[in-house]
């Protein structure tokens, strides 16, 4: 528990102390509950001004420690093991306790033209702390508690091109298309020497496609705005024959500029994901629907810098078969614009 408590302050120091900056991710939900916050940060969805960089450094933490069967709470969650050595799925292999997700990510976007921005998302530290009971048998019905089978490492890099489809005084519509590259490790071993659960790996090992849309409407310009966004990640099979379910994200929210340097927001974030598949067979406990309520705060100490923090509160969660679901999540970060001109306000 000590390391669990230390992880946020340590990561905070990393993020704040480095003085660099941030972005967004929506990595996979797993049979072991790997997940990260999915939301609209407000610093990452729009376009960068032409010739300018927006750098963004963020840290996300999600505690996945509540057992569910479908939408109902259960005390004990058994999940299968994907046995890559023997190419089979072992049902009810181990009992889940918790998966603690930590993700530090650096994002950089560049305004190639006034209407076209390229964004690079680098999840440079993707950690999953996995607590579970394994080795369950007739002689050891409770199994043995393990906390050593988590993983950490560099995740999968995304490159996204965003295009201005509509910009008027009150409307902004941005479309994005991109790819997720298999830069993260996906063959790490567990404490028994076997290939670990794919959902615990820092990377998926697959080359995936991304499509997104972001719309913002200024109800009261520079004071109250509404936004809607959606994205779809189309996943492909990795070299071990594992296919993560596609990810559909939908977000809607309001942002209110309460003071010139302070913005408060509230949003609803929904995610849908079908079962993962291994060699054509559905993996039990993967996929489901998750809806979160996400209050947030953004501080702008100067025109080129933003600090932000969001909390995620689950309001509806349904898992396929049974699995753990998040009890809460948090994201905070800093974003900085480089080379801001002295033009208009």
């Amino acid at each position: 528990m000590i390391s669990r408590r230390l992880i946020i302050p340590l990561a905070s120091s990393l993020v704040v102390g480095s003085g660099i900056f941030l972005f967004w991710v929506a990595t996979g939900f797993a049979s072991c509950g790997g997940s990260n916050c999915f939301l609209v940060t407000g610093t990452q969805e729009g376009l960068s001004p032409q010739g300018q960089f927006i750098a963004d450094l963020s840290f996300r933490h999600v505690d996945i420690d509540r057992g569910q069967r479908g939408t109902q709470h259960i005390d004990q969650v058994f999940t299968p093991k994907v046995n890559f050595e023997e190419n089979l799925i072992e049902p009810n292999h181990h009992r889940e306790v918790a998966t603690l997700n930590n993700l530090a990510q650096f994002d950089l976007s560049y305004g190639v033209t006034a209407d076209f921005t390229v964004q690079l998302a680098v999840p440079f530290f993707n950690q999953r702390v996995h607590e579970h009971y394994d080795g369950i048998s007739a002689s050891n019905p409770e199994g043995t508690f393990f906390r050593s089978d988590g993983t950490d490492g560099f995740g999968d890099v995304r490159v996204i091109g965003k295009y201005n489809l509509l910009t008027t005084t009150k409307h902004l519509l941005v479309g994005g298309l991109g790819m997720k590259f298999p830069t993260g490790e996906y063959n790490l071993r567990d404490s028994f020497g076997a290939i670990n659960e794919p959902t615990l790996m820092p990377g998926t090992g697959s080359l995936d496609g991304l499509a997104s849309m972001f719309y913002s409407y200024q109800i009261f310009p520079h004071q109250l705005d509404a936004f809607f966004s959606g994205s779809q990640q189309l996943n492909t099979k990795n070299s071990r024959g594992y296919l993560f379910g596609d990810i559909t994200l939908l977000n809607a929210g309001l942002g209110y500029q309460i003071l010139p340097y302070l913005n408060l927001s509230g949003q609803v974030n929904a995610r849908y994901r079908p079962h993962d598949k291994f060699l054509g067979q559905s993996v039990d406990g993967t996929g489901g629907e998750w809806v979160n309520l996400t209050p947030g705060i953004r501080l702008q100490p100067n025109p080129t810098t933003q600090l932000y923090a969001f909390g995620q509160i689950p309001v509806y969660q349904r898992v396929n078969e049974s699995n753990l679901v998040p009890s809460w999540g948090i994201i905070f970060g800093i974003s900085k614009t480089f080379g801001l001109g002295s033009g208009g306000g």
Partner: protein, 173 residues
Amino acid sequence: MQQTRLQVLLILTGICFCAIVWSGLAGRPDPIDSGQIAPTFTLPNLTGTKVNFEQALGKVSLVMFWASWCHPCMKEMPEVQATFKKYKQQGFQVLAVNFGESNTTAKKIVNRFELTFPVLMDRRGDVAADYRVLGLPLSFFVDSKGVVRERVFGKIMTKEDLDKRVKHYLSEV
């Protein structure tokens, strides 16, 4: 199957971007510019009285969009006030349209710069949308017939700049 899906997505991605870029579809409406009829509007001033743009017809008008967070706008305010004071009697009118702020905020600016020209409150930005405002400062010189003669965007106008323009447009009346 999965590789096929990815190939389809990649091809679609390429086609979409090429189509958008080549067709110049980027969604920025053409700005209101010289030669066009200035969009008319009715907005409340700081006391709540409705002011109709058509009341300004017959005069040379400067329709300027501003906000307190726009630093160039703040630099321009005293210059505009001085020009207004100088040419008011000769038929020069300023309609300073505040972009999206509260009366309290606008009043502070009025008091700070001792503005005497009408400040109009475009709380929801609808008039700004009609004038296709995408950034501030943005001003339009409108002649006595309601035709936009010049659009000035992203530039702080000095007293000399204003003087030259106002003199020129007044001479045409």
